[in-house]
Symmetry: C2
Subunit: 497 residues, 2 copies
């Protein structure tokens, strides 16, 4: 298989040297990369199946430079692909042959921390974990915690609306970002959101979060900080079947408990993780739940008992509760190492990302087992069970002819299944190029056109990150009616009573 | 003073009978109101200072009817003002002389309740409180609770991003709505969001919530349900000064506690409320905090002690903690009756709504006292202190020449002060016509234009609720470049590795 991407503009490719010179005039000699060796590291992001060397890479250091770069590219009709740390698993930062790759890595400063208003203002290249590091001595943290948090940037988190283990209780990126500075494709700098939970006027922050680089380049982010909970305890709960584990998850949530994290691993994932990190996971169960509860100590104890009682009603075996911080970390160590651990089961694996209503967990897991047999490919399941966000890891061998194609088809069937049961195509990895062509499974043509009309309100010439998210990119003029009136609408008086 | 509104189209006004006939063909004889007596009740919403009899009122019963009404109005170039229960305090549903007022009152059914996925699907005319009533026997509730919750509709809540006492802990409407069905001005029906916390593609739900009727007509809303907490207890805390009460609020939040509600009343409000409902509020203090803590019983007890300790450090006097549900309700009774209670202090009052960073509370309260002296008008403060959402009630007498003008000027000064200290123009009442002309205090011209470009992506002919939110309405063609290319952007192949 191959991936349909926007047709490269040969004229732009031929102008590479001229474009490099123009951008060097903005950012300085060293901040433009155009040598083949220098460009190689940028040819893919975390979705390594697709690679494309960019036209060139530009690494601005200030908002003013970003504004000048975009304004110039806009005038010249040159496409731009924004990039944070390049850890996207859906190909959101996949370069184009005829597009400038705009890297935000040099925007790496924490600008302000305000504990009374519980927020931090950071540049987009700051890593997710660096925000927590900057505030943890004061007892605070930034809640969303993608597995890639050591490397991934907060700008990338905003672009993809990233999640993590703790998003069940504390929300995704969109629930933890208060405001942003955004440079539009024509170079205009606008502010969306602010320092409080909601600003006046149309809420553009929600559009910007999760927009996958299609509406502008974020040059500053204001995030919400949370106080570190007084206590956090984790429990391991084994189940004789994934269905029973699934029912347990649904019942915990339906009972009114929102754990800080509630993760599920199936038998292949448990065995792989245990062989890898040896933390004492039970090997005689079909499913393992790791449930973390946090809050004040008394609350934790109380909720642990409630979860234990619910689990007992679903045939749980071998419940263990962490008694020390070391033990809690050990419980999580296997989960955190699960991807590399599963990576040892087969030469390659393909990590999927979809979300389903919690009560559909048993049905979807059962159907996934049938698909696994149908495609003749193993699958290990490691996922955020509490919010129904699946991460099936499809095992294959890229060196065996046809296996990658089969893995991709299997993956697409899983995502179709997610939509069929009332879920969505993504949980936290974004659409990118990976799920782009499945968007019509979820959205009608009218829905997609309306999304694209909003994209056009930000980037009318479709120069920002084309080929991502939308399976078909309509010229903006085709999406709305043309307007004949010009100027301001007059507002005459109406009397006040 | 008077209010500048879009110039009425005399041609449309002259066609009233013809328009009524066309709409009757869609919704039936009785669902169009065009008699002067019938129209009178619709001449204003909760912002009663401004009144305007609408062209006519149409009351559709189905999404298909809404679609046909909007498509027809769109073709004819006729403006439409959507209306829920008409309780808006910012004039969001103020009619226009040449606009159809589209009432959603007949959309009054709860369509589905799903406890496992913790959501309800409701029609927009269902009242806020009716959602809770529909699910409370199962132990659930809908969290945002505006003071008008008996009357206000969920569709109106979505339009204004309404709040309430419990939004400190549980978020505003935007944090409690999962999805919506939206009819665009051209009659197209689109779905935004879904049944899970985040859908794929551009997040249009965030734009729709708080859009004040400017982007479409919501015909179905999917809301998040929360389980009723096991325990809830309230405490009354008196303070010798509003500054000390303000510092206490900031410290409670900075300590990591998020109460279910944290409300403040100043001396005039306390005295008015106590005289009105006689619940035993202390009369010898300058400020009163009502703090509610909820959760499991053990957690409540623990947090009450912590709040008490913090309050003690800020000179609190006369702390009382509720021991029964009756007592808790009594503590709240005064707060809930505060607006009508304050209404007895003067012939008229003007309720303002702005939000400030919590740590600015003491400074803003002090300055408000100075403004009160300057304008010679009393002010009582009743507000959501925990999230910095102020509701100053300016006391005046409309029969005294100039007093309403002075009250409005005083109110505008308060809102300017909110922005000056880093806050925003609204907390939960919206911009409407009330704060429209203050938007430039908060947003630059580029910010407002970008918001309007997004508005244009939904309603390119500016027919939906014109004159609200934006102080200047630019023709859409003036906001972006014109496009010469047509058709789809081709996506050729790039190879997969």
């Amino acid at each position: 298989m191959s991936l349909k991407m926007p047709e490269p503009d040969e004229g732009v490719i031929a102008r590479r040297a001229e474009i490099a010179a123009a951008l060097r005039a903005i950012v300085g000699e060293d901040n433009v990369i155009d040598s083949p060796t220098g460009l190689r590291p940028y040819e893919s992001d975390g979705l390594t199946a697709y690679r494309q060397v960019p036209l060139l890479v530009v690494l601005p250091e200030t908002t003013a430079q970003v504004s000048r770069i975009l304004a110039w590219c806009s005038e010249q009709g040159i496409k731009v692909v924004p990039r944070g740390s390049g850890t996207s698993l859906s190909g959101g930062a996949l370069p184009l042959e005829d597009a400038v790759l705009l890297g935000l890595g040099k925007f790496n400063r924490v600008l302000e921390v305000d504990y009374e208003d519980r927020l931090a203002v950071v540049q987009p290249g700051v890593t997710n974990l660096a925000i927590t590091k900057a505030v943890e001595d004061a007892g605070f943290y930034y809640a969303p915690d993608p597995s890639s948090q050591i490397a991934c940037s907060i700008g990338g988190n905003v672009a993809e609306n990233s999640g993590g283990v703790h998003c069940l209780k504390y929300g995704l990126t969109t629930n933890n970002v208060l405001g942003a500075e955004l440079v539009l494709m024509d170079g205009e700098v606008v502010r969306v959101g602010g320092r409080t939970l909601d600003a006046s006027g149309l809420d553009l922050l929600g559009v910007v979060v999760g927009s996958e680089g299609l509406v502008g380049v974020v040059t500053e982010v204001t995030v919400r900080l949370l106080p570190k909970p007084e206590a956090a305890r984790a429990m391991l709960i084994g189940f004789p079947s994934v269905e029973e584990a699934g029912h347990c998850v649904a019942d915990v949530i339906a009972s009114g408990i929102i754990p800080a994290g509630m993760e599920m691993m199936d038998r292949p994932a448990i065995h792989a993780a245990e062989a890898f990190v040896k933390v004492g996971y039970p090997l005689d169960v079909e499913a393992l739940l790791i449930v973390e509860l946090d809050g004040v100590a008394a609350e934790c104890t109380h909720l642990l008992e409630e979860v234990e009682a619910i689990a007992g009603r679903h045939g749980a075996v071998g419940i263990r509760v962490s008694t020390t911080e070391e033990e809690r970390n050990a419980f999580w160590a296997g989960r955190k190492a699960a991807f590399p651990a599963v990576g040892r089961l087969a030469p390659d694996y393909y990590c999927m990302d979809g979300t389903i209503p919690r009560r559909q967990l048993p049905r979807v897991l059962k159907r996934m087992g049938e698909l696994s047999e149908h495609y003749g490919l193993g699958v290990a399941n490691v996922f955020h069970a509490g919010d129904g966000n699946l991460h099936p890891l499809i095992l294959y061998d890229a060196n065996k002819p046809g296996e990658l194609d089969r893995a991709e088809e299997f993956g697409n069937d899983i995502l179709r299944l997610c939509v069929e049961v009332g879920g969505v195509l993504t949980g936290e990895h974004g659409v990118g190029v990976e799920k782009r062509d499945l968007m019509p499974e979820m959205f009608g043509e009218d829905d997609l056109k309306q999304q694209q009309r909003v994209k056009c309100a930000f980037d009318p010439d479709l120069l920002l990150n084309p080929g991502k998210v939308f399976p078909t990119l309509h010229r903006c003029a085709e999406l709305g009616r043309m307007h004949v009136h010009h100027g301001k609408v007059p507002f005459p008086d109406i009397p006040r009573f």
